[in-house]
Amino acid sequence: MLWGHTLRAAEPDDIDRGLEAFRAMLNADPWANPALLDADRGAALWKEKRGPRKATLERCDLGKGPGVVDGAFAELPRYFEDAGRVMDAETRVLWCMQTLQGIDTQALAEKPHPVSQEPATDLGAIATWVASRSAGQTFRARFSHPREKATLSLGAALFERRMGPLDFSCMSCHGAKDKRIRRQELAHLADQAEARIVVGEWPAYRISAAHVMTLQHRLYDCFWQMRLPPLKFGSEASVALTAYLVKQAEGGVIAAPGLKR
């Protein structure tokens, strides 16, 4: 009886140890993260003539001027005069695909994110590459424009808003230190010290889903788990939550693409 109990207890710990070892190996070799394949795909897509306009994304302005990718992710989200709204990296890439390439993003609106075992979308791959071009830099979005400030307040309010049949807010899972859901460790995102460590890891390769997951996808998943409807890609709410997380992580080092269980 006791022996049987010990055996069962050992299994998930072994999985944890195995994953930890796997992660350690991948971290030891910076080129081993499968997400880098997506980043490469994203880099190629950036330069490829696509859409009805047969245009590349090379004139896309991510906030530091047309075509400037290096360091742009570190300064997002921000207000864009041309779009008249605050955008994060993913929303801005979507905007560029629409305006520069004329790509119809209706399909993306219907199925914005890959299911488990499916590769990241083209947009996800591009966003992964864009984020990787700020790796090693720190989050330093300015949040000085009135619209940026408003976005930040909205994100903070959304983070604490309890809704849905489970009465959950983001705080229900991410509002305390050293908590787990099942065996999965949860990030204490209301804590800036912890946010500075974890937010910079997104987009990240998820070992269990075998694909890169972007931050918008991660938020979509949280809302799904909270029993709320599908979160619209690039919506004001999704950008506001991203803004809140980035502000929490201000000064933290960007380590994208990261690696997650």
Binding site: L2, F168, A176, R182, L228, P230, L231
Partner: protein, 233 residues
């Protein structure tokens, strides 16, 4: 920020009524903006789904106070939510612990991908609580419930309190993180009775823990001794 302001005003000795008026005015403005934002964030939503985006009075108050309401507010919440508890018609609180275990393990139901309406909802208790010592995949957002029945000496009054706590946690602890499983229509009365059995039946694996209630296992990371239940007032 608003919370801080309210506390400051309260500490300055302004009338409580005035404070409430300010809170309502502020939340009206922000709530309008929030609902517009949420409508745009969930454009395909209608009917039942739309109502999920609007917190009821209790959740609105809890969000407002950062889930730490002052005693007067907490008392209002507990009283209101206690009235929303439906007791079993047959007057018994203990169902079948085997069915309870399946409910504790399952997280099925109410997600937009959960389209099989015949499949029963789960309570997903293990997401947050430790229960049976043989299940090591448990969360730590809630307290450990290992050996719960033993700790409470299998008293019938405890069974009733457990039922109430699962049916509507807000009636016991205002602004608790735990969902209101009965009141919010996640679990049925029968399912909640099965969960009570999982905690309170002497035959349940929850009460077969090798070490109970504290000892070596309970000092593991995240584990805490079973909580003492406080009757709802």
């Amino acid at each position: 920020m608003r919370r801080l302001l309210l506390l400051t005003l309260a500490s300055l000795g302004l009338a409580a009524a005035a404070t409430i008026v300010i809170a309502e005015q502020n939340s009206m403005v922000n709530e309008r903006q929030m609902r517009r934002t949420l409508r745009l964030a969930f454009p395909s939503t209608s009917g039942d789904w739309q109502s999920r985006l609007v917190p009821d009075a209790t959740m609105a108050t809890c969000s407002e106070w950062g889930n730490q309401p002052p005693k007067e507010v907490a008392d209002i919440i507990k009283k209101r939510e206690a009235r929303r508890i439906v007791l079993p018609k047959d007057g018994t609180f203990i169902g079948d612990w085997r069915r309870g275990e399946a409910i504790a393990q399952s997280g099925y139901g109410l997600r937009f991908t959960d389209t099989d309406t015949k499949r029963p909802h789960g309570g997903n208790c293990y997401a947050c609580h430790e229960l049976s010592p043989t299940e090591v995949s448990f969360g730590t957002l809630g307290v450990s419930l290992k050996g719960f029945g033993l700790t409470h000496k299998f008293q019938p009054e405890s069974a009733r309190l457990v039922y109430e706590k699962i049916y509507n946690s807000q009636a016991i602890v205002a602004c608790s993180t735990m969902p209101r499983f009965g009141t919010n229509g996640i679990l049925t009365v029968e399912q909640i009775k099965d969960l009570v059995a999982y905690l309170m039946d002497p035959a349940s694996p929850v009460n077969k823990a090798p070490e109970i209630p504290s000892g070596k296992a309970a000092t593991r990371s995240g584990s805490q001794p079973p909580p003492r239940l406080q009757p709802g007032k």
